[in-house]
Structures are given as C-alpha cells and as structure tokens.
Amino acid sequence: MTLIADPPTHAWALHPGILEIDPDAEADRITHALRRALASPLRRRGYVVAMSGGVDSSVCAALCVRAVGASKVFGLMLPERDSASTSLTRAKKMAEQLGIEYAVEDIAPTLEALGCYRRRDDAMRAVFPEYTAEWKSKIAIRGGREGTFNYFVLVVQPPGGALREARLPARQYLEIVAATNFKQRVRKTVEYYHADRLNYATTGTPNRLEYDQGFFVKNGDGAADVKPIAHLYKTQVYALGRMLGIPREILEATPSTDTYSLQQGQDEFYFALKHNEMDVALWAYNHGVAAGELAAYLGMTPDQARFVYKDIEAKRVATRYLHEPPVLVEKVFAT
C-alpha cells in the first residue's frame, strides 16, 4: 500500500490555454485512427454509435461519419422510462443532420422484464416506505468537500410534492446501482445486436474525465470496440463539437446521467467539481501542478484542492478493476 502525496511538482503553470487544441487536426488524427481500427484489429465495415443526445456521443457519431462516411455509420437511440424526452429529440436531430441511418428502440419493456424498475423501487421503498413508481428519484453524493467522507443519499419527490432525501444504507445503495446498471448493459446488448447484424464495430463514447475516473458501467457503456474521445478532456470535446457543427442545443445542454427520473448532473453524482473545473483539476494533477496553484487558479482553498487531488487518485484506485480484463491464473497467449 502506498500513501497519497501531492503529485510531483513541475514548472507547469495554469492558464486558460492549457486545454486548447487544434480541433481540425485533432479530428483528422481521430478519424485516421478510426479508419485504421476497422482494417485492423477490428476487421469490421463500419460503426454503431449509441446516441444519447449529449455532446460526447454526438461528437463520436460525427467523427465516425468523417472517418468512414454516413453510409457506414448506424445510430441508435435507446430511451427508457426515465430518459428525458429532450434527449431523444436532440439525438434524432444529430443523426438527421449527419445523414446516417438510425433506429429508436425503447428498452423499457426489456428493463421491465428484467425487473430493473421493480428491484430499484423495492430498494427505494426500504428507505421511503411510501415511495411509489409515480415518484421521481435520484441518487446524489454528499460529504467530501465539507471534510466528511463521501456518502450517498436517495432524493425523492412525490407528485406535486417537495424534494426529500435520506442517507442510503449500503444494501439499498448497492441494490439501486445494480438495478439501474441494467440500463447501460441492455443498451450495449442492443448495440452489439446491430453491430453483429451489420458487421460493424461498437463505439464507446466516454471523454477523458469519465474514462480516467471510471464513470461508466463495466460491460455496459464501458464495453466497446473503440473509444474515440477517451483521451480528450470534456472542454476539448466541446471544442471538437463546435468545429464539427454539433447543434447548439446539444452543446448547451447540461451534462446529465439521464438515468434517474430526477435530473442528475454528473457533478452531483460523481465528480467533485463542474466539468470545466474538473478538466483543469485533472490536467493539473496529470501535469504535477501543486495543489496550492490549482487552488489559486480555481478560487478554492488549498485544502479543497488537496481533496480534489485525493478524490482523483481514490477514484482511479476504486475503479481500476473496471478497466481490467478478467484475471487469469497464468498467461494463455505468449504475447
């Protein structure tokens, strides 16, 4: 076991240009990689992109089109009961703008059959006995920034009523997460159906924050044949999006998990900061910028900056297994 320390410090200075990229050159680099990947190692004829209506999947779809042409990209919209209707509208608009073939498949009946909603609601009722399927809900994270440990709360809202929240016990927290993870895993199952049918490859659409910090479901949205923007900070994804002509409503939409019936921002569920600040913090961490300098740049206290660094490191450790292939007792292939 190793103790956390501030990352080694270098002469890097934070300034507004640290995340600047040449969007056109970057798009060329990615599209080149996407074309090569199809030839080898994927040996497939095009790409399936699950489109959520958010900026990451929209940029990935546009990059795939730029790489192999609209006729070789298949878009998928996979809404379920808790998806915001605006997500589907935005995703369709993106697909139509790109001129790609797409399909909308409502995965709610599959999730219903798997017991996704029932299992989740049973766990929620253990915390709020009067909870019914008509109530809205989400999980949020508390603590951490205030010096306490992170813990999870269930936030519910009865029809026409006020928000209520309660700390989630371990069993109910894990049950709710396990049940909602059906959503990402069913989506990926449908994606692979279409990929196999078309002899295409699947795309994963995490940005660097999500990929680095493990904000994905293993064998769900984390499963993919190629992840075109996993190396890009969210700020850089937006820069690509602007260059690629992504519709304004997609670029201006607040990043959301779109997994719970109450609006859930990524920063209130997973990340310690808003994505633009989180980008700077992760860049600073990766470049060995001292916590004090990050604090001054983002207008926080040095203790808060140290917490952000510790949180980055802790999430890497906690989610490392999400990236790992299965553990083998001995090597099977020589190379």
Binding site: M1, T2, L3, I4, I141, R142, G143, G147, T148, F149, N150, Y151, F152, R167, L168, P169, A170, R171, Y173, L174, K310, E313, A314, V317, A318
Partner: protein
C-alpha cells in the same frame, strides 16, 4: 475497547481480504492507503451501526471518527458511552 478492535479487524479481514498481521496497523488511514473506497465506507458504516447498535450521524462521518482502527475504537466507545461530538 479490545472487543471493538477485534470486531473491526475481523470485519476488515473478511470483507477487504487484508493480511491482519502485516497490513492492519492501528493508526493506518483506510482512505490514504486506499484500503476502503466510497462504497467500502458505506459498508463500514453499515457494519458499525449493526455490530454496535449505534447510529452514525451524517455529521459524524469524519476521518477522525472512522478512518483507522484506532479512530473507530475511540468513536464507537464514545458513542456507546453516549457522548460524541461531531
């Protein structure tokens, strides 16, 4: 105090698969050594509440109460004696 420590060590051994003799020093920070992550802390809270019949309040979820065997011993003892300050 010894019974509390024994239960905590057993919980850590059985749930986090650590070698008691080598890795579970009394004042070792669970968080800084990455022994326990955020889900692990949720499980630790459940263990403390169920095993010792106490309620861990939100404002008590502090490193000085929960982040090592030593701090857990002090915290649980204070709670059982009916006095804990957040």
């Amino acid at each position: 105090m010894e019974q509390i420590e024994s239960k905590v060590r057993q919980f850590l051994r059985e749930n986090f698969f650590v070698d008691d003799s080598e890795e579970l020093q009394e004042d070792m920070s669970f968080m800084q050594t990455h022994l326990i992550d955020s889900t692990g802390f949720v499980e630790l809270i459940a263990f403390v509440e169920e095993s010792f019949g106490i309620e861990v309040r939100d404002e008590e979820m502090l490193p000085e109460n929960l982040d090592s065997i030593a701090s857990l011993k002090r915290y649980v003892t204070r709670k059982l004696n009916g006095r804990v300050s957040a």
